[in-house]
Amino acid sequence: MGDKTDIWQGTLALMVLKTLDVMGPQHGYGLARRIEQTSGDAFSVNYGTLYPALLKLEQEGYVSSEWGVSDNNRRAKFYKLTRAGRKQLAEEAREWERTTAILARFFEPAEE
């Protein structure tokens, strides 16, 4: 797998929320794989970043979790977006767009 870009901590939470929003309830492994795929395998998600981030989101009330059974019949913990999480996602997405839009202006070719 080689060297993959480390995920910028602050953005992982946003990626988790967005992925849960798109895919519905997911277990940790599914989330990790999905984030890696979406990033075009630019990221490698390991335990060390994912689970503390999930715990933090759960403590803040943006995701909730419950035990369920995975596709291949394994007991797994499924994470689901809460209403507060959905609101938070919308807010952070807006904030993100604003930031990128501003940054983008710096990199646009200067208009004569």
Binding site: G48, Y51, E60
Partner: protein
């Protein structure tokens, strides 16, 4: 804190109890994750081994994730603390001897401080137990021309102030009064038990609202009961009286009690927490102020503006400051001064809170004494701290290896210091707990040291929340104080040598020994200072006890009566009641003589009259001239007191209101005013315009009147039969000390035969009559000796533990010395010499300190100089002996060391 952080915190708190389960869940989750990754790798065509290896590489260490989540889930600081606490408890439990000694030392130190603080708290810090006591203020009345203020107002002035002020939600008036309480009306018998004197208050109708207190049973006073004099005999009674005299009768409301022989209807009962208007007296009843005349007030009390009899309490409106309220009241007082210049000219009003108002009274003494006691008990606590610090230092050296290993495997120094501090704070809290128990037990001792006064004193010396708060703080502080230096020193360990086990060598850590030596010196110094103070106070008490009061108390019985409580007027009491009563008492078995005096000398109060104007002289200008103490007595007083008359005669039955006025003076009066005893007899003088000319018919021997240490002072005895007064103390002199109980019974019987309703109070037997005189010296000596014993115990413990420890560390050295031929005596001298040197340094420093301190105490010591040689020589000698003993035991042990064993030591 943002909402998000708060929510996270709450989630942490909520999740705290199921931490173990959460951890299992996380482990399972991580395992699932790993398995899924392996399956994926397998599907990609890897061998099982390779699939597992790569999955592990990719996902990283599970342990770190678990740790990270654990920290995130819990409270790491708290968990460290919890860990330290558990470890601390284990360590302390493992060394019960050390723990017990240290906790005991701290317990004694903290206990003595708690006890003293509780007493000070009871007197000057604990607010009156009413609603929002901080709003309750006391107006004082005075003249602008004069710095002095009084607590009392006349009723008309009170009404005007109440009406005109805008600062108080209400202002009430009250006054304490005593009353005889009985269950019957007849003079012959009292069916409901013995009559007794109780204290109560005359109060305006709004008093209970101002105090913010609701009755436990029944009601308080109605508006109509607060309107017309003498028409509504109703009373609210106190909880204690209700319990004691009425057996907590739940149907007491509407029953009748007799106050001063008059029937009153009980309308309510106060809750137990309510004392009344004074913080130190528990009141038994309250009656409407309108009944004032029945409790000895003049008939004109309601209308006469100059008759200042009433104390006030005001409750401030919310937001009004003391200064605003005072300005407001003075505005009203200014109006009064204009309208009624005769009585109210130049009136000024001062406001204090109830708590601050106390400082101006007798509590000053308590405050001063309490402060002194707190200083000394602070020294005792410091002594205990040094003691424990020394023990901790010694222990830190033996624990050096444990600490070294902790440091070696990566604990930070801060973490080690924190852990050691946790231990010492734990120890201090243990000491605090013990101290608390000591102080609680000591409460009774404090009470026992109180003089017997005929009042229902109610001071709560139990440590309360305020004291608890302070003592917690003091415990924590001491924990840090004695724990910090040893902890820091221990954490500075040199790792290599520590782990190699060299720290146990006495040659190393030289400065550590010096610190411990310094601590021992400090302990000896402090205990010398405390012991010398103690010695001085004890010697001073002995001196006081040897002072001759001028009369003989051993066969004396005194009882107080006040026929006026039963509406006898002064004239009737003095004219018929008293002569008959004394006659009957003298007929009782065992009685040698009986007499009356208004107030016993060397007791609570004294009366001063003047100016003394000799016959043929003019009155001196106002506020000049000489005043003198005096008492009212009956015939046989001098006989009953066994106070000799040096010249002239005693009063007798002929000295009545119709006969010429006579007095007896003391020798000092004769010397002061007539230049000697010979010339005084037969001369006449008067007290200004107060009395007509009075002829001196006798001269009594000088005695002590106000206190045992006063200089000779002039004194005048007036016959009560010419100066009628009803409230008197009955003096009965028994034939012998063995007859005292019989004489007391006889006196009681005689009084009850005269009028069964008449309560007897303030009974004192024999030497009890001098308790008040000895009280101050007694309390000082008791406290000083308690401190002294504590100091001695702590210093001995300190010396002993340090010497023992030092010897045990030098076992090998001593063994070598002995192997090389040192004699037992030599070793003994070596060890003893070291200990005694420390003690001597401490003693010299202590003596210097004591010399300085005793200058301050000069005013409190009686009859001995502040450099009393007995104390200043005796105390150091005592300490040297104790130091020798404390060193001897370990020295003896050292000398018995078997060189072979010693060399193998450690």
């Amino acid at each position: 804190m943002s909402l998000r952080r708060l929510r996270a915190l709450l989630a942490r708190l909520a999740g705290f109890p199921q931490r173990d389960e959460r951890e299992r869940e996380l482990a399972e989750e991580l395992e699932t994750h790993l398995q899924m990754q392996i399956e994926e790798n397998l599907r990609a065509g890897m061998s099982p081994r390779e699939a597992r290896r790569l999955a592990l590489v990719k996902l990283g260490g599970a342990a770190q994730v678990k740790e990270e989540c654990r920290r995130r889930r819990g409270f790491p600081m708290l968990e460290d603390l919890w860990q330290d606490l558990r470890y601390g408890v284990r360590i302390l439990a493992k060394q019960p001897g050390f723990t017990a000694v240290a906790a005991l030392a701290l317990g004694l130190g903290i206990g003595v401080n708690t006890a003293i603080l509780s007493v000070v708290n009871g007197f000057v810090l604990r607010p009156l137990p009413v609603e929002r006591p901080e709003e309750l203020v006391v107006p004082h009345w005075g003249r602008k021309t004069d710095a002095q203020v009084w607590g009392e107002f006349s009723y008309p002035n009170y009404l005007d102030l109440r009406e005109q002020n805008k600062s108080f939600s209400d202002l009430c008036a009250w006054r304490e009064t005593s009353a005889g309480i009985s269950s019957g009306e007849s003079r012959e018998a009292d069916a409901g038990g013995r009559a007794e004197v109780v204290w109560g208050e005359l109060v305006t109708g709004n008093y209970f609202d101002v105090m913010g207190v609701k009755p436990l049973l029944g009601r308080t006073f109605l508006p109509e009961e607060d309107r017309t004099p003498n028409t509504h005999p109703v009373t609210v009674i106190g909880h204690t009286l209700w319990q004691r005299r009425f057996g907590a009768d739940p149907s007491i409301v509407n029953k009748t009690v007799y106050l001063n022989g008059q029937p009153y209807t009980v309308v309510g009962v106060m809750p137990e927490s309510f004392l009344g208007g004074e913080f130190y007296l528990r009141k038994a009843f309250w009656v409407p102020i309108m009944m004032a005349q029945k409790f000895g007030r003049r008939a004109e009390w309601k209308t006469e503006r100059g008759y200042a009899q009433w104390k006030l309490y005001g409750r401030l409106k919310p937001g009004v400051t003391l200064a605003q309220a005072e300005a407001d009241l003075n505005l009203a007082a200014g109006n009064l001064a204009r309208l009624y210049p005769a009585e109210d000219a130049d009136t000024k009003i001062q406001l204090t809170t109830e708590l601050n108002g106390r400082y101006d009274n007798a509590t000053k003494v308590i405050r001063y004494g309490g402060f002194l006691a707190l200083c000394v008990s602070g020294l005792v606590l410091l002594l205990a701290c040094f003691n424990v610090a020394n023990l901790m230092l010694a222990r830190a050296t033996t624990r050096a290896r444990e600490i070294g290993i902790r440091l070696a495997i990566g604990a930070s120094r801060g973490r080690v210091v924190r852990q050691l501090l946790t231990e010492s704070v734990l120890l201090a809290l243990l000491g605090g707990l013990l101290g608390w128990a000591f102080a609680y037990a000591g409460r009774d001792l404090v009470w026992a040291s109180f003089p017997p006064v005929p009042y229902p004193i109610s001071l709560d010396f139990a440590p309360d929340g305020y004291v608890l708060k302070w003592m917690m703080a003091v415990s924590l502080l001491t924990g840090v104080l004695f724990g910090l230096a040893p902890a820091v020193l221990a954490s500075r360990a040199d790792l290599v040598s520590v782990i190699k086990g060299e720290a146990a060598q006495p040659t190393r850590g030289r400065h550590r020994w010096n610190l411990r030596g310094a601590l021992v010196v400090a302990q000896v110094t402090i205990s010398i200072v405390i012991l010398i103070c103690a010695g001085l106070f004890i010697r001073s008490l002995r001196q006081v006890r040897q002072t001759d009061p001028g009369f003989k108390a051993d066969t004396l019985v005194t009882l107080m009566i006040n026929p006026r409580l039963l509406a006898y007027d002064d004239r009737e009491a003095a004219g018929r009641f008293f002569p008959e009563l004394l006659h009957r008492i003298e007929a009782q078995p065992g009685v040698r003589a009986a007499a009356l005096i208004d107030e016993m000398p060397l007791a609570v109060g004294h009366t001063t009259r003047g100016p003394v104007v000799k016959e043929g002289e003019l009155d001196p200008p106002p506020n000049q001239g000489v005043h003198t103490d005096c008492s009212l007595v009956t015939p046989h007083y001098f006989d009953a007191m066994r106070l000799p008359l040096v010249r002239g005669r005693d009063f007798d039955e002929r000295d009545t209101t119709d006969a010429p006025r006579v007095v007896v003076i003391n020798q000092e009066f004769a010397r002061r005013f007539y230049g000697g005893e010979g010339d005084a007899l037969g001369k006449r003088f008067r007290f200004g315009q107060d009395t007509p000319l009075m002829e001196i018919v006798g001269i009594a021997k000088d005695s002590r009147y106000r206190s045992l240490y006063e200089d000779a002072m002039p004194y005048v005895y007036l016959p009560v039969y010419q100066n009628p007064r009803a409230g008197m103390t009955v003096l009965v002199s028994a034939q012998t000390a063995a007859d005292v109980p019989a004489a007391l019974d006889g006196a009681r019987r005689a009084i009850s035969e005269m009028d069964a309703r008449l309560p007897v109070y303030g009974v004192m037997v024999g030497e009890e009559n001098l308790l008040m005189a000895y009280w101050g010296a007694n309390v000082a000596a008791q406290m000083a000796s308690t401190f002294g014993v504590l100091a001695l115990v702590l210093a001995t413990m300190g010396l002993y533990s340090v010497m023992t420890y030092d010897v045990s560390r030098r076992t090998r050295e001593i063994g070598i010395r002995m192997a090389l031929g040192a004699q037992v005596g030599h070793v003994l001298r070596l060890v003893l010499g070291q200990g005694v040197r420390l003690a001597l340094v401490g003693i010299v420093l202590g003596l210097l300190g004591a010399f300085a301190l005793t200058r301050v105490l000069a005013g409190l010591l009686v009859g001995i100089g502040t450099t009393d040689p007995v104390t200043f020589v005796g105390v150091p000698v005592l300490l040297v002996v104790i130091a020798l003993l404390a060193c001897y035991v370990p020295a003896r042990r050292a000398a018995r060391v078997d060189p072979l064993l010693a060399l193998r030591h450690d």
